[in-house]
Symmetry: C2
């Protein structure tokens, strides 16, 4: 990624465009761009090293502004920092509904498709002050604190009519440019396609059965581990080999309903799951995504929206078939993957 000053299109605001052929939203984000003519194929770069890492303790001045830290005392050492993204995909400076700006305003460009201004938030959650410490190395309580920091940030921007989306990239081939353990939080003005598809699909199930499909008891052969409040499974139609979901056992629509006790419980299960993945699959790159309900969701919808955490190790490639069709080829049956993950011993 180029430094902001080298960017030709720097002055343009981000735009979110939808094209009439695929009915798909794309965020055009000039702040993340090199000049168009500088784009070249490159071998994947190694994520940054500890010798020059802005996320390490002591280098706070190399980062975009801090939003808050844990613990909050600005003079004591921090354990977690939530900061602005230096190359935000969306801009918090181009006005919003809240302050009378153009948020949600949709320009119709005729034949061209539709455009929404790219108002939104794009933050980074630094999960540890130490470069080499990964999320799975933290104590369950500390993993819980990271989750609670995400919750706090979501609650801070609650009043904005935006979809909040928390995700983590770990390892270069999972897209991570920074190896220092972190997650990202994006708050965007459109409902992304997988989220609306999920809401429609779980609604259909609810209409047919009267039940939320993630409240249903999961078949034994797909289960991995169970704690007081959560269960980990390989979903029946896992898109990727060894894809794992961590699901609250009692119905809950919004991730930010997580309380302190549940955060520690989830922290423990997330730690265990990441360690199992690391041991069994040889420390693969992975992504995780918190799949939660839009804040705008109305009461009748909340009955069939059940939040969960989706973890995807990067083991298989994605080729033309998957890009073109949205269908995936998974070489490992879900029940076989679940059995392996149930049985792996972590030291």
């Amino acid at each position: 990624m180029a430094s902001p000053s080298s960017t030709q299109t720097q002055s343009r605001s981000p735009e979110i465009r939808k094209d009439p052929v695929n009915n798909r939203w794309v965020i055009f984000s000039p702040a993340r761009a090199k000049r168009p003519t500088d784009f070249k194929a490159k071998s994947p770069q190694n994520p940054n090293s500890s010798s020059s890492c802005p996320f390490c303790i002591g280098n706070e001045h190399e980062c975009a502004p801090e939003i808050f830290r844990v613990p909050p005392d600005p003079k004591s050492d921090w354990k977690i920092r939530v900061i602005q993204n230096l190359y935000p995909a969306l801009s918090r400076d181009i006005g919003s509904k809240k302050d009378g700006g153009p948020d949600g305003e949709m320009r119709c460009t005729g034949d061209l498709g539709r455009v929404v201004t790219g108002f939104g938030f794009h933050d980074v959650v630094i999960e540890s002050p130490v470069h080499s410490v990964q999320l799975q190395d933290l104590e369950p309580r500390e993993v819980g604190e990271v989750l609670l920091a995400c919750k706090k940030r979501i609650e801070q921007i609650k009043e904005y009519d935006l979809i909040k989306y928390v995700f983590k990239n770990h390892g270069a081939s999972a897209g991570a440019s920074m190896s220092h353990s972190h997650s990202q939080l994006l708050a965007l003005p459109v409902i992304p396609p997988t989220i609306s598809a999920r809401i429609n699909s779980t609604k259909e199930y609810f209409d047919q059965t009267g039940k939320c499909c993630l409240c249903e008891v999961q078949p034994k052969d797909l289960q991995i581990d169970v704690t007081t409040h959560f269960i980990s499974i390989v979903p029946f139609a896992a898109t990727f080999p060894f894809e794992i979901w961590i699901i609250p056992r009692n119905h809950s629509s919004h991730f930010h309903e997580l309380d302190n006790e549940k955060a520690v419980d989830l922290g423990g299960l997330l730690k265990l799951t990441l360690r199992k993945i690391s041991v069994q699959l040889n420390n693969p790159p992975f992504n995780f995504m918190i799949q939660t309900a839009p804040l705008q969701a109305i009461d009748t919808q909340l009955a069939y929206i059940h939040w969960f955490l989706q973890i995807v190790p990067q083991l298989a490639g994605v080729g033309g078939f998957e890009i073109g069709t949205g269908c995936y080829i998974n070489p490992v049956f879900s029940e076989d993957a679940a059995k392996v993950m149930r049985e792996v011993n972590v030291p």
Copy 2:
């Protein structure tokens, strides 16, 4: 990929599963699997070299059975071969509607989701007898012959009620395991999500405007090149930087309507486009996909389904945000990419 004999789940047939949460089809393909416990993260392997390439002329005996060759005389040297895939994602041996088998039969597994047997075809089109020759190195007429070979294969399996899907992976990070120039043809028993989304979306446009949105004149600033029958553009809401579509200028729903004259014209434009990508973007890995109408499409649908060829150079990574939301972040505005591609000189 393991040799077929090392595979534990070898005896199981492929299954296509849909889960109730995401409403997404996944092909479970044991023929493509190692044993589940053998799955490990790995650095991307280099595609195979010419010294041991089953796709090279002379090594036909190392390939799965041939379906046909061009020219057809089995005793003369071939220019193109269409063969079965040795590790097919779908199986042609588990019966079909045509011969009274279980094609399309949908097992409902209650809470679990839905399953369709994995009947289908998975073929490989070897585009040249010589290892080092890439598609863009061929003459326009020869590129046209490759396209006509895909058309011929689609017509051969026309009677099967399957969605035919042609795509190409070029380069290891675009997923290619074989560097010898080839495309793949998959014929599957379910309509993939991007295809149904596209049909719904172009229908909506048609209902509102009375027009097919790909017949509309494309804005000048998105155009790259124009030939007698085709135009290349960067779509208004390109999902990936420098994504390019080649579109027939006159309405046509099915790729297999391509005749010999149009095939040469398209061959020339495809060659030019691939060369421009290679020169400007430093020979990046890429995928291309032929986006055509399902054979089952009825007459009223054909008015708003317009086939096109989608080319995606692999320049930006895909991270947790994209996997989780189906939304993409594109750092290059489409009109900037189109300008660059219009102006690049190919030797």
